[in-house]
């Protein structure tokens, strides 16, 4: 029985190379600010219990992503866990737990890139948590905390957080000029509208079991954490903005005009860098083809040189030890 195939990369994790440096850096900064704030909040809310609780829960979310069920034709649904983490731990701890999960996935399993990690943390930990919190708390309040309200809220939070996060992924790809907005955003949204159903059903199952065996755990997450209102409003805003921008961005045939403006802005930002040495300083500007050939030769020599050196060193070591 092999479970290695369960660690197939998910379409939500953006690898390196797909986001422009500007988008990556901006989302890194946003994520770092949110994480720093969450660290302070969690220290106040949970105290010294926080490290074991969040560490083990992060491991549980990671392991929970291995649990899957057959959908059809070899495909399977499985959990990502933003909604369940938010419901069980409250928003601030959830952000940290999901940051840890996404971080280990990138650092150890190359599921998502390292430069793109800021964006992935933003999409899955920040957006995932904020939207889950907003949806779940709203449904709970509307249904006055009845059991079916917990389950319905869990389903909608799971579905909503996945779909909104996927719209954000599509938008980031479009802003980076990696994929046209009118294809990336609807495609990401449509795929995740389906994936989100699986996520929602698993979340219902998990909440049903937890409310039957340890109802106190659900109560703990419901307790109003400090700054909860800010997360609620943040979730509302994120959901609204992405729900409004995404159709706008994808209805325009060439993507949004402000995507182009963004690119214009990039050119301006990079302009001075290229003018350090104007063209005329290099009279016979090297031919691109020649440069590529030279690079190929240097690269080949480099790799073969190292390979030979390593082989030689190994043989010496082997003969010395025998």
């Amino acid at each position: 029985m092999s479970f290695a195939h369960l660690f197939s990369p998910q379409p939500m994790h953006i690898p390196d190379g797909f986001l422009s440096v500007t988008v990556s850096v901006i989302l890194w900064i946003v994520s770092i600010v949110v994480i720093a704030y969450a660290l302070r909040r969690v220290a106040e809310d949970l105290g010294e219990r926080q490290v074991p609780l969040m560490g083990v829960l992060a491991a549980a979310i990671f392991a929970g992503q291995m649990l899957n069920f057959t959908v059809a034709g070899g495909t399977s649904g499985h959990l990502m866990g933003a909604a369940i983490a938010t419901i069980l731990l409250g928003p601030w701890a959830s952000i940290l737990v999901l940051t840890t999960v996404v971080g280990v996935q990138a650092l150890i399993f190359q599921d998502g890139g390292l430069l793109a990690l800021g964006a992935n943390i933003f999409n899955m930990a920040v957006i995932g948590t904020a939207v889950s919190y907003f949806v779940y708390q709203t449904v709970l309040r509307l249904t006055r905390g009845q059991r079916w309200g917990v389950l319905a809220g869990g389903f909608l939070a799971a579905w909503g957080s996945i779909v909104i996060a996927s719209l954000a992924v599509g938008l980031q790809l479009a802003l980076s000029g990696t994929s046209p907005a009118n294809i990336a955003i609807p495609a990401m949204g449509a795929i995740h509208a389906l994936i989100g159903v699986g996520e929602g059903l698993i979340t219902i199952g998990a909440l049903a079991l937890i409310s039957a065996t340890r109802p106190d755990l659900l109560k703990a997450g419901e307790a109003r954490p400090t700054g909860g209102r800010a997360v609620w409003i943040g979730g509302l805003l994120i959901a609204l903005i992405l729900a409004i921008i995404s159709p706008l961005a994808s209805s325009h045939p060439d993507g949004l005009e402000w995507v182009a403006e963004q690119k214009g802005f990039l050119d301006v930002a990079q302009g001075p860098l290229y003018e350090i040495i104007p063209d005329y300083v290099f009279p016979g500007q090297i031919n691109e083809a020649v440069a590529t050939i030279i690079a190929g030769i240097i690269g080949t020599i480099l790799v073969f040189g190292i390979a030979l050196a390593v082989a030689y060193a190994r043989r010496n070591r082997a003969s010395a030890s025998s």
Partner: protein, 268 residues
């Protein structure tokens, strides 16, 4: 069965294994950053970046084939960039007709697509080398060295400590489900129950995984208290980087910077 196959670390005595983890961590990030900043179509620079990462793979005595195989796992995402071939305006290159549609591939679109694919490919290789030659505690040390908050590093550390325990737990849950529901490999035999039922069963498994995790975290907390834990994450002060490490760091950063300057001068 234990899930230690999860850990990508490959023990070894190569120069890359012995390199200070902080240097490796920073250089991996710098390499990926340089690849990201390299303009579209700077083929010469891409070749050199690929040569650099292949050279490091050879030096690390991981098999190059092993790294490339792992790297292939991360490639399906490239589908997300495929439409750019047909939507970027520019000199048409070839026309792909699928049924009633005819898609025109433009030269700039192709260049952009191939550039994204190469960037992504070399970046993921660098990340694989880092993960395969560095033990997790050393990665934690590198995170501390680049000023990741101590609390977050502790959570990372604790997660890693219990990751295998809980993955084993998840595998036991799945094995129990397999034995209950009698799955057959025979073709044509469908899995039992409706889709929603299967999802709910899986949800119940996830729920009990979380309940067990909560209870385990309680016991761990008690054990930590019993050993004098007071909420403060203490760790040994970081050792100073050795002179040789500084030289490797400086030379490598300089090489990457030089490559980048060339790329920006000639291809931007």
């Amino acid at each position: 069965m234990h899930v230690h196959f999860l850990d990508p670390y490959r023990p070894g005595q190569s120069p890359i294994h012995k390199l200070d983890s902080r240097v490796k961590f920073v250089l991996t990030l710098a390499f990926i950053f340089a690849a990201a900043l390299t303009p579209t179509g700077a083929w010469a620079i891409y070749i050199l970046l690929l040569a650099l990462v292949l050279g490091v793979e050879v030096l690390s005595e991981l098999r190059v084939g092993y790294v490339l195989k792992r790297a292939a796992l991360a490639l399906p995402f490239i589908l997300a960039a495929l439409p750019i071939v047909f939507t970027m305006p520019g000199e048409p290159r070839f026309i792909l007709s699928i049924g009633p549609w005819a898609l025109t591939a433009s030269l700039p679109g192709l260049e952009r697509f191939i550039s994204i694919a190469i960037k992504s490919w070399v970046s993921v290789q660098a990340a694989i080398v880092l993960a395969s030659t560095t033990e997790f505690p050393d990665l934690l040390m590198a995170m501390r060295a680049v000023r990741v908050p101590r609390l977050l590093v502790s959570i990372f550390g604790l997660m890693w400590r219990y990751l295998f325990v809980l993955a084993d737990e998840a595998i036991r849950l799945m094995r129990a489900r397999l034995s209950r529901s009698g799955v057959s490999d025979q073709a044509g035999l469908k899995p039992g129950g409706s889709l929603a039922w299967r999802a709910r069963v899986t949800g119940g498994m996830a729920g009990s995984l979380f309940v067990r995790a909560f209870e385990r975290s309680d016991r761990i907390y008690m054990a930590m208290l019993a050993r004098g834990y007071d909420g403060e994450a203490r760790s040994e002060p970081l050792q100073a980087l050795s002179g040789a490490s500084w030289v490797v760091l400086a030379l490598s950063l300089f090489t990457l910077l030089a490559l980048l300057v060339f790329a920006l001068l000639f291809w931007a």
